[in-house]
């Protein structure tokens, strides 16, 4: 493994928790992302990252764990997008945009207070760009628990969720309540955004949500295959990103590391480009 990782990687105490939390979070984001792409809700996913940012900034102002702030804000923001009750795609877009704008404004205000207070040094950095190497070890069990609950919920609602994603009218005719299903899903989405905000930061969490999912959806034909593929791609991106970020300390004489978030997003982009190339090549052949 010495060709891949620099010396000291495995013995460094921050690496183990980072790899565990990163893998768990990537798996949740990828699985949720498949549904996001199928439902055409990438924009809502991105809006929730802005909402989560406001929550993370608020949490660091009051000295709480950012994950709690990400979660609470995301759930409130997601529920308010759903409560706007927009059934038509365009109305939903507008409701999402309004929530996004409000949240971004709140984020700016809160981050201003955070950056002007001396007690919360580094918080702005970790809210925006993630903090997987500096996350306190006590947050890891909480993160894993939230991830497990999120995956279990997604798995439990998968059939009504898929049916109402394909056709709300068909689902309603069968007695599914599409509003209830989409409210549950937006909470799942908020939790997944909160988790990835913790690892790679709120700004870049959309990439981890949509990137692996869209790559896997290009390559696989069925939903099970796409979900498994997305999880593999997402976990690989985060783990490779963590390794690359750690290694990058040794790449230059000045010893300036590349942030984890940038490394993860770079790997995601490579995956998306590769899947696009592969599906084009396959279409050209067939």
């Amino acid at each position: 493994m010495h060709w891949l990782v620099e010396p000291g990687f495995w013995s460094n105490p921050v690496v183990g928790p980072a790899l565990i939390l990163g893998a768990v979070v990537a798996a949740v984001s990828a699985a949720v992302g498949v549904v996001v792409v199928v439902r055409g809700q990438s924009f809502a996913g991105h809006a929730l990252t802005d909402v989560a940012m406001a929550g993370g900034a608020g949490a660091s102002l009051v000295g709480a764990t950012p994950l709690v702030g990400f979660l609470l804000a995301g759930i409130v923001g997601g529920a308010s997008i759903e409560a706007a009750g927009a059934e038509r795609v365009r109305d939903r877009d507008v409701a999402t945009g309004v929530v996004l704008g409000g949240a971004a404004g709140l984020t700016a205000l809160l981050l201003y207070f955070v950056s002007s207070s001396t007690s919360a040094t580094g918080s702005t950095q970790s809210v925006l760009f993630g903090s997987v190497f500096t996350v306190s070890p006590s947050v890891v069990p909480l993160g894993v628990a939230v991830a497990a609950a999120t995956l279990a919920t997604l798995f439990g609602v998968r059939r009504p969720l898929l049916l109402s994603s394909l056709s709300p009218e068909l689902a309603a005719a069968r007695g599914v309540r599409p509003r209830v299903v989409s409210l549950v899903f937006v909470v799942v989405l908020a939790a997944s955004v909160a988790l990835s905000a913790l690892v790679i930061g709120a700004i870049l969490s959309t990439a981890l949500l949509v990137g692996p999912a869209s790559a896997a959806l290009r390559v696989s034909r069925g939903l099970v295959g796409a979900t498994v593929g997305a999880i593999v791609a997402g976990v690989a991106a985060v783990e490779l990103g963590i390794v690359a970020s750690y290694d990058s300390f040794y790449w230059s004489a000045a010893h300036r590391s590349v942030p984890v978030s940038a490394c993860v997003v770079a790997v995601v982009l490579v995956e998306v480009a590769a899947s696009a190339g592969w599906s084009r090549w396959r279409r050209g052949r067939g």
Partner: protein, 274 residues
């Protein structure tokens, strides 16, 4: 043009009882009252905008009534009854990652929450429905990659998968060419016999349905009337329905409905549409 009685020896499945429906303050259906028997093939005929879709949605429980009630299989109509539904416009994006067999399976277990895996019974039922609709070869394809006609057939399989006692189809013939129309009707007639399911199918043209229909429910000016095909497929009745002259020709044992131009003289004012 009464709707009673049901065909001899058939048990009642649906009773639409004195239903009135308003959309946005406008009454679109009034005094709608008819029954459908178990296993019957009923055509719901009317011009575009006459309220056929609203009536189907009312039977499904998707559209509230302002008065009256719908009883399906002895239960006052609400969502989730033993009713399969094929809406008029469902199109799937090309890249929706759902296989035909999986979509049809959602017809059985798409309402189920929980962690349990899809059972063998569901998969066997899916194979059975796909075979009876001659879709077996498409089972592994993505639904979005199919043609419009194939997608519609898959929607029928989805609707039938839960073994409904009533199958509602909203204008399933509208976008098919002539051979597609006859093929779809033949398949539906065969499936309703093998599955023992009643069919209520909306269309704006009655002609192709005449050979298979047990009875007709027709909609005009927000009211309905119904009867057997023989009672309804008559010039005076159809002329009153369409508001202009219609001829019914019997040619080589087939019934051909020929519409005149709107405003044509020859409508039969003595026929009152109930």
């Amino acid at each position: 043009m009464g709707c009673e009685p049901l065909p001899a020896g058939r048990r009642e499945l649906v009773h639409v009882h004195e239903v009135e429906v308003s959309l946005g303050g406008r009454t679109v259906l009034r005094d709608v009252d008819f029954r459908i028997a178990e296993g019957e093939f009923v055509g719901l005929i009317g011009t575009n905008g006459s309220g056929k879709t609203t009536l189907l949605r009312t039977i499904l429980g998707l559209q509230p009534t302002s008065s009256g009630e719908v009883v399906v299989a002895g239960r006052e109509g609400r969502r989730g009854g033993p009713v399969g539904y094929v809406p008029q416009r469902v199109t799937f994006d090309h890249d929706v990652p759902v296989r035909v067999a999986d979509f049809v399976a959602l017809g059985v277990d798409g309402t189920r929450f929980g962690l349990a895996r899809r059972g063998r019974g569901v998969r066997e039922r899916v194979d059975q429905v796909l075979a009876s609709l001659e879709l077996g070869a498409l089972a592994g394809r993505r639904i979005g990659a199919l043609s419009g006609g194939e997608q519609q057939r898959v929607l029928m399989a989805h609707a039938l998968a839960s073994r409904p006692r009533l199958l509602l189809l909203d204008e399933p013939l509208a976008n098919l060419d002539l051979s597609g129309v006859h093929e779809t009707i033949a398949v539906l007639d065969r499936v309703r016999r093998s599955e023992g399911v009643a069919v209520l199918l909306s269309a704006h043209e009655i002609g192709p349905l005449v050979p298979v229909m047990d009875r007709v429910v027709y909609v005009a000016q927000g009211r309905v009337a119904c009867g057997t095909t023989e009672e309804v497929v008559r010039p005076e009745v159809l002329s009153a329905l369409y508001g202009h002259h219609v001829d019914v020709l019997h040619v080589h044992g087939r019934v051909v409905v020929v519409e005149g131009e709107p405003g044509d003289p020859g409508a039969h004012p003595e026929v009152v549409v109930r």
